[in-house]
């Protein structure tokens, strides 16, 4: 399908570093960039590009989660709970992706992103004030209470995830994004956990990173079994992605949550417009 030259390999690794930085610092897999990159630059059919993207997402998620789980940033219990519906979404949507034209869901998704992006943008504008209010500072004996140390605030941040049933429902769509578009699902999971469940943005980002590896895995199993994975592209991309992830994690750990939220809201707006334009091409 593709003869890889040294310059191709170099380009893929550099691109992987860029994706790793974006993905790990924002809790997304970077699939929104990977799929267009392979389709537009290497003329790879979209279904194969999605498969490579999912392999790369497993690597980003695993590399980043290996650090965040130890640091206590990841809410493992919340992640497992939401992964159940996410895995169902991934499996169902991968089946649909292999069979059907996804333009209607593509359009629905692009419209759905705009209000989410706007909400996150307004939340980020509250900036420092909101930052210091994030989480619970008083003692709480709730068994679901989670705590992590935020070095940018210089204190422990505690929180209790809320509205879990609703989050469970929306996580299904995170899985759908994974199987249908190779996006990993962080683009849905971070806002769901942050806005709906009240999880601080850093914990939401880290937990999303932990989860997207599983949703990508659920889809990748099916795509690998059906011969959609191009191993050579995946291996070089993963090298770059892992290097980038290590850099991105440092950004996540030290950066202000509001900076990440603001950046993420702009990214969502961009993706929404891009997906709309793609449909009306």
């Amino acid at each position: 399908m593709l003869e890889l030259t040294i310059s191709h390999i170099f380009l893929i690794i550099i691109f992987g570093v860029f994706i790793g930085i974006i993905g790990s610092s924002m809790g997304i897999g970077g699939g929104a960039f990977i799929v267009p990159f392979f389709v537009l630059v290497f003329n790879i059919p979209i279904k194969y590009a999605i498969a490579v993207s999912l392999i790369s997402i497993i690597a980003t998620s695993s590399a980043v989660a290996s650090v965040n789980v130890e640091k206590g940033l990841t809410n493992v219990r919340l992640g497992i709970f939401l992964e159940m519906s996410m895995a169902i979404g991934s499996i169902v949507s991968t089946f649909i992706m292999m069979k059907a034209n996804s333009s209607i869901l593509h359009l629905l998704f692009s419209f759905m992103l705009l209000p989410v992006a706007l909400t996150m943008f307004l939340k980020a504008k509250k900036s420092k004030k909101a930052e210091h209010k994030e989480g619970i500072t008083s003692n709480n004996d709730d068994k679901n209470l989670s705590t992590f140390f935020d070095p940018s605030l210089g204190r422990n941040v505690s929180y209790v995830p809320k509205k879990l049933k609703a989050a469970f429902f929306f996580s299904f769509f995170g899985g759908v994004m994974s199987g249908l578009f190779g996006l990993g699902g962080g683009i849905v999971q971070v806002p769901v956990m942050n806005i709906l469940c009240g999880v601080p943005i850093k914990a939401a980002t880290a937990t999303s990173n932990f989860m997207i590896g599983l949703s990508a895995c659920a889809s990748a199993i099916i795509l690998y079994k059906n011969n959609y994975v191009i191993g050579d592209l995946a291996s070089f991309l993963v090298v770059g992605v892992v290097i980038g992830s290590m850099i991105g994690m440092k950004i996540l750990y030290r950066a202000k949550g509001s900076t990440i939220t603001m950046f993420f809201s702009f990214l969502l707006m961009f993706l929404s417009l891009k997906m709309m334009l793609d449909i009306f091409k």
Partner: protein
């Protein structure tokens, strides 16, 4: 005997995830040492299978780990995810 703690469980998870990615990179690089395309593809396939298995391994560890910690609810959730992943194996084009 020392009691198994949540911290220990998370350390095992971290190591599993890290080693899965490292193994993938090492084995996929090894595959490029072979000029025969079939051998290269065979070794690269092993690397990809290891990477895909990494999140599955962490779910198995979490299922067992939470059970050992006495948290049967999350052990069950992990088991449900495992079953879902297994069902995915039967989906065809």
């Amino acid at each position: 005997m020392k009691k198994f703690t949540e911290k220990q469980l998370y350390e095992i998870i971290s190591k599993t995830l890290r080693n899965g990615v490292i193994l993938f990179i090492v084995i996929s690089f090894l595959s490029y040492l072979f000029k025969d395309p079939q051998i290269h593809k065979f070794i690269l396939d092993i690397a990809i299978m290891i990477l895909i298995s990494t999140p599955i391994m962490r779910i198995i560890i979490l299922a067992v780990g939470f059970y050992k910690l006495g948290d049967k609810k999350y052990s069950f959730y992990s088991f449900v995810i495992l079953v879902l992943l297994f069902l995915g194996l039967f989906i065809k084009k």
